[in-house]
Symmetry: C2
Amino acid sequence: MGMTDIKLNHLAIVVDDMDAALRFWRESLGLTQAGDVQSVPAEAVDIAFLTLGDAHIELIRPTTADSGVAEYLAKRGPGMHHLCLEVPDLDAKLAQLGESGCELINESPRERDGRRYAFIHPKSAGGVLLELYEAIPTVPKE
Amino acid sequence: MGMTDIKLNHLAIVVDDMDAALRFWRESLGLTQAGDVQSVPAEAVDIAFLTLGDAHIELIRPTTADSGVAEYLAKRGPGMHHLCLEVPDLDAKLAQLGESGCELINESPRERDGRRYAFIHPKSAGGVLLELYEAIPTVPKE
């Protein structure tokens, strides 16, 4: 069997109480928090990252009641929300998935903060909301 | 910030159709399957592993209607089921979690096939069914 070049980037967990979540994952379990809790008003969430090898657990707390993640929390309760895998060539992977009949939430990648990403619909990914991610290489400034 | 010695062992995904799940994760997405699909009659499941770095995605398909995982599938549909993290000292970690008030499904580790493991109740782990795992060192036979 060959090696694949796909690796875990992060596992996102939706929480209703960020302090309680950090008490469990950081204080009780002993994971290391990476950076501070960040507010992301554009997505109506607070987020925090915990280091897991060279990947992360991302804690997401919705800050309004009407976002997609808030609706998910209201419907299903706190728990694992989405899986983000890093791929070397996101455009090629999305084309390959589209050809095989997968439903893509983002037909072409979105881009923000030095990363390109696209979501695959859970109905095509065995019930998993799957994010595919590609790091954008940093180009040295002249 | 320090490093932690906790790492991902596997992320378990419950599926209702193993062939369809393998078509997505292996054929369409391109992950490498590790070994064949295994039947585990004692747990009434079929399982398959996909390599993700030095960890795995575990696909679980219940083979009867009355197991815990079958009930989970019937209630919530296919999707992410549990998260398994590897810790260096499982006994110490369980004691630490118990002291901090976490509800343990297995108060003391279960042991099978060269591994020791215990589950933490989702109500103590932010809605995540969390498995903690410790590899049992192989002792050379005399």
